[in-house]
Structure formats: C-alpha cells, structure tokens
Amino acid sequence: MSRVEGQSIISVGIDIGTSTTKFIVSHLKYAKVSSHFSLPRYEIVERKIVYESPMYLTPLKEKRDEIDLKTLTGWLEEQYKKAGVNVSEVKSGAVIITGETATKKNAESILHYLAEKSGDFVVAIAGASLEALLAGKGSGAFLRSKEVKGTVANIDIGGGTANVVLFRRGKVLGTITYHVGGRLIELDQNGEITFISPSIEPWLHSKNYRLEVKKKICFKEMQQIVQEMCKDMLNSLTGQKLIRLDDSLIHSTSFQVIPPIDEVMISGGIGQLLEKEAPKTIYDTAVYGDIGPLLAHEVVKEIENCSLKLIKATQTSRATVIGAGMQSAEISGATIHVAPSRLPIRNLPIMMIELDNEQIKNRDYVYEQIKHAMIEWKQYFQGEQEIPFAIHIRGISYCSYAVLKEVAKILFSLYEKYFPRNPVLVVICENDIAKALGQLLVLQSNNKVDIISIDQVVVEQGDYIDIGETINQSMVPVVIKTLAFMKN
C-alpha cells in the first residue's frame, strides 16, 4: 500500500486569453488519506508547477475574428518539448478559452481539438463562470477563503472581461462577469484610438462617450472613462447598484443579489500591472497599446473608495492557467465500479434525482421520480442522438441493501426502456455507496450495458462532468464543469 502513496499524475493547463496564451505543466500528487482500517480514500495532497511557458500573444487571423490554429498548435508543440513532456504521459488537465477569445468564430472547435490532442484526459472548459472559478482557485483566493471568516472575492481582469468569483469558507457562492478589460480599447502612445471592442460599445454609448477609431483622446478623458467603468463595476459588486440583465456592463451572472464582500483579490493581466507605477500621461498609459495600466490603478482606487480590503494575489496573470492545470481535477471515491473500456468519457450532462432517506423506501415514489426525470430528459434532448449522460442520485445518507436493490432494479429497467440504445449507464452518488449500487446494476444489466458508478462527487443540475481513466485500479479523476448562468 505504501508503494502508491505519493504517486503523481501529470496535468497540463492551457489558457487561450484575449491577449495572451499561457501553458503550464504540473504534478498532482495523490495519496491515501484514510486509515488502514477504513474504506480507502484518496486525495490530491500536493499540486506543484513544473513548467511555466512565457506569455505568448494569442495568434489571431488578420480580421481578428478567428484564432490562428496552426500557429497556436506549433507553439504548443514547442512548449511540450521545452517542458520535456510527452502528450501520452499527460493524465489530466484542462484547456480554457477565456475572455473575448471565446467569441471567436472557431473557438469551440479549437477548444475540443486541443483537448483531444493535449493528453489522455484533458478537458475542454468554456464559459465565463468557469473561467472566474478557475482564476479564483489559481490566484489563491479560494485558499484564503478557507483561512478567514468573511467572503473573499477574486476579480480576474484580463484583456476582455473581468471575471468575479465569490468564495466563503472554501465554498463557491457564485460568479459574475463584467465587460471590463485592458484591451477593450486600444490606442497608440500619441493617444490615437486604434480599436474599440464591440462588447464595450453598448456601455460607452449608454454613458454618452463617443469614441471613434483613429480619433485622438486626451489622458483626462481616457482616465474618466476608465474610472467610470471601474466605479460602475464596484457599485454593482458592493450591491449599491442592483443587478439587471439589461446592464450593458454585465456579461453574465449567477447572482441575482451579490452577498457582502469582505476581501478582494485581483488577478489576471491587470493584477500584474498593479505592481507598476500609475500612468500619468497618455504616453505612459499606452505602453502596451491599450488601457491596461490605467485600468489597473483605477480599479484599485475604486476598491479603496468602497473600503474593501485588498489582498495581494499569489498568482496574477497566470491565475487562470494555473487553476485550469492544477485545480480542475478532483478524485472520486475509491470504492466504485467502472467499465474501464468506456473511459475516459467526456462532457456528460447531469440528470438529477433527489431522494431522501424516507422517500427512497417508497418503491412507487422512486419509480415515479426516476420515470419523470427520464421522460423529461428525453423531451429535452428530442431529436438529438441519444447522447450519454450521468444520473446523479442525491439526498440519501443511509439506506439498506434491500432498498438499494429495488432502486437499482427500477433505475435499470427504466433506463433500458427509455434509452435502449445507450451502451453505458453512468451513475454518480453523493455518498459512499457507488460500489454497492454499481454491483447491483451489473447484476441487473447482465452485461448488456456497461456500468459506471462513482461517488463522493458533488454535482448540480446543469453541470457537465468528464470522467478519466482509473488511477491505481481504484478511483477516477473527474472534472466538473458548472454552467450556471442567468444571462450569456
């Protein structure tokens, strides 16, 4: 047993952002955390970065509406070589396309292409909410929230968006993303505007700022615009301005009301610029050809005005890629049942079935609940091929074997009835009962359908899950992708 302790898996993170692309390689060390006398439980006990790429300007095609895949993959291949890692050794990780880049025409196909090509179990991650979450985990805000009493916000400001996540005692409260970023307006050192992002135009318009490409702008005016942008964002974050779906500064949100924030961290490219001196002229401002340096210092001023406590982030510009590479994977319980030939299995949507300790004893109730969920599911995915999905059973803390057997019977017979062409049945339990349920389903299925039953994984309705190949013959890495949005 001691042989396994401290084994590592190689994980990569790739973040294709509005302005820069980053790549990291990390070692995730997992070890047995349970005693010799209990059921085995493993956890990732150490996450270590072994290679960090330099910042690479995200290659775009001439019209700036498409990512230049060829150049990008060429760079990545070079990076794998420099890191001394073979794609075949990579067992975990995530590719994320962030900020404005996510709106490029070929973003989605590139994302999945890279995920497939980057290693055995590298998942594709998209969406502002996940981006905020990973940045918050990478910046150190998540860890900080476990150590302090209050709510910690991480604002990850890149070129195109500001992704905010709120943590409290190691739990995610929610995310909100604003159209606030360093590259939304680009200008040269003479103050001539060279680019205005379409995503900030509605806001500029609503505030009566009439900017035009090729026109000159003075430092005072630029500063006022950026200041107003920051003030608008902070007013919303502190609850002084209510969240409205038609707010032109809000990109997407999972909050309807934002809970009070105690501490703030700033990560992303803007977080890194905090260390530099504040620009005083348009010449200083445009050192990178955009409003980044100005934005960095205006946002800090506004945070101080709101008397929020600003905490230095442990990672700034690389927070998201570190989050993607090191924090995206979790480990399932170690007593599970899987069909190894079916793994890895990607992008499974979650069907939720809630049953408490009492309800589960009522056979008819269980039958109706599962039947209802399956019929609804079929209607929802009508027309599409019968894509595999995962059934999450939640709410049971204890149940007898006889009851579990009934549940397995009902679950399997209904699954066979409604999804006869699905060759695999994936079940995710909250509590440590996956092996028991898995073996019952195997006995039910008579090898007609492959069974994957895992546990100790927390998922929500609307989430997607990726399940990797077994580690040490006993557990699987999983990546849970939450897509809770009100507006996007």
């Binding site: 006398f37 209990s38 059921l39 007593t335 204890y398 007898s400 074997y401 006889a402 440590d432 195997v442």
Partner: protein, 280 residues
C-alpha cells in the same frame, strides 16, 4: 341514591375515564420517548463564528460545541452520554436473535467462552471452538471452500442485529460479481477475532471473512468489523489480517463495506496474500 352517593358515583366515573384516557396516553408517552438525533442536539448560543463551529462539529462525532451550564455540561448532554453508555453495556451483554440467524441460514457453534463474564476476562477462550463445534462444522460445512464466511457476536451482539441484513447480501452479490464461490457460512457465539485461525485449520478455506461485533464505544454500540485472512491457520499473526472497521449506519456504510469486501477477497486470492502483504 342520595345526593352524596350520586356525587361519589360521578367522581368514580370521572376517575375511570381519566384512567382509561391515561392508558391511551401511555402509547403517546412511549412515542414521545423516542428521541431522534435532532432532539438530542444542543448548540452554542450566539457563537462568534457560527460557520467555524459547524465545520468543527461536522468532522467529528465527538461531543464538541454542545454548550454548558456553569462549568458543567447541559442535562441533555449528560443524559445522552449515560444513554450511550447504557447502550454499549447492553451491546456486550446482548445476544443475537435466533430469527436473524435463521433468516440467513446460519447454524450456531460456540467457543470455549463458557459465559459472558469468562468471555470478557479470558480472551483466549474465545479463540478456540468447543469440541462439539468442531464436530458440527466438520459435519455440515463444505471443505476447502474458496471463501468461508463466518459471523460472530464478539463484543457487540447489536452490531450483528443492526448490520447483517445489509452487509451480508451485499457481500454475497460481491462474491458473484467477482466470480467467487463460498462454502457453508455459520455463526460463532462468543467469538474473538483469532477464532479465524481455528476455523481455518478445520475447513482450510482459501480466504476467510469474519463479520464480528466491535467493542462498543460511546459513538456507536452497533459497530462491526470485517476481518479477512488468506489461508488462516494456527500461528497466523495479526499483520496477516486485513480489516475494515467502524461499519455502521453512521460510519462505513454496511452496503458499501459488503461490496468492497468482495474486491478485497478477489485481490487476496489473486495475490495469495493478506494483511500488510496485500496490495490494495
């Protein structure tokens, strides 16, 4: 009947109704004596850091954050402690019901424990089966089975009562899923863990699994252990046994333990080892 008599008659009737009401009430009373976890719980009033105290309480079943009166625990806390202690004593002194053993077709044999008092004072006696037991096992059981299942009360009869219905069928299914076959299971009264060695000598199984009641504690009186050994025999040392302990509704769930035992037994047979030599 004079006025006084009528008065008295009335009084008697009233009393009688009251008494019969009382009888009906008695059931209600009994019901209200059935406390759930929620009824027993006490909390620190207005803690400075409520989330912190909740987090601590969640990671341990120990009695922390239960509040106090003066320098002493609350009456409720004391009563619960006494109740749990009484349950622990009952678990040691109790017996596994015949109906449960019949349900799973387990016949009963005894060790040389004589009685509960001797059992507690002389652990060595619980490790050896009586001559009669040896004879019965030889008569009734399949020899050289792949898996031999044995159930024993050990130090907690209530552990068997509480968990056998879940762990046993889960274990049987696990044997099937793992392609294993079992011999003839039976129940050992007054058993200690090392009675496995004696049984191993008699039946020569490839692997033996003993489901036995654990020493009851104040957290649970119904906790069970599963001890497993590859070719148990006289002179087996403790490090050659594999164990899953703390099996009860609030610990390692019996259904999952049963399912997992199947995997362990499979590995024992494949690796021809158990205990520290087994790679799980």
């Amino acid at each position: 009947m004079n006025q006084a008599d009528i008065q008295q008659e009335k009084l008697i009737m009233e009393l009688q109704t009251k008494i019969s009401d009382k009888i009906i009430d008695k059931d209600e009373d009994e019901k209200s004596f059935h406390y759930t976890v929620v009824d027993w719980s006490t909390y620190v009033p207005n803690p400075k850091f409520p989330e912190g105290i909740d987090e601590l309480r969640k990671v341990t079943p120990a009695r922390i954050g239960v509040w106090r009166t003066g320098t002493r625990p609350l009456t409720k806390t004391i009563l619960k402690l006494q109740l749990d202690h009484a349950a622990a004593v009952d678990a040691v002194n109790g017996e596994v019901s015949d109906s449960l053993l019949k349900e799973f077709n387990l016949f009963t044999v005894e060790t040389c424990y004589e009685n509960k008092e001797v059992y507690l004072k002389r652990p060595d006696k619980g490790r050896v089966l009586t001559e009669e037991a040896v004879k019965m096992i030889q008569e009734k059981c399949v020899k050289n089975p792949q898996v031999q299942i044995v159930v024993s009360d050990g130090l907690s009869a209530s552990a068997i009562e509480a968990n056998l219905r879940d762990i046993y069928p889960a274990l049987l299914d696990a044997l099937e899923v793992n392609g294993l076959t079992q011999g003839t299971p039976f129940f050992v009264k007054g058993g200690r863990v090392a009675c496995m060695d004696h049984i191993g000598e008699i039946l020569q199984p490839e692997v033996l699994v003993l489901l036995i009641g654990e020493r009851p504690g104040l957290v649970s009186a119904n906790s069970m252990s599963a001890y497993m050994c590859y070719r148990p025999r006289k002179g087996t040392i403790e490090s050659e046994r594999t164990v899953i302990s703390n099996i009860h509704s609030g610990g390692t769930l019996p259904v999952e333990a049963g399912a997992y035992i199947g995997t362990i037994l499979r590995k024992m047979i494949d690796q021809k080892a158990s205990g520290l030599h087994l790679e799980l």
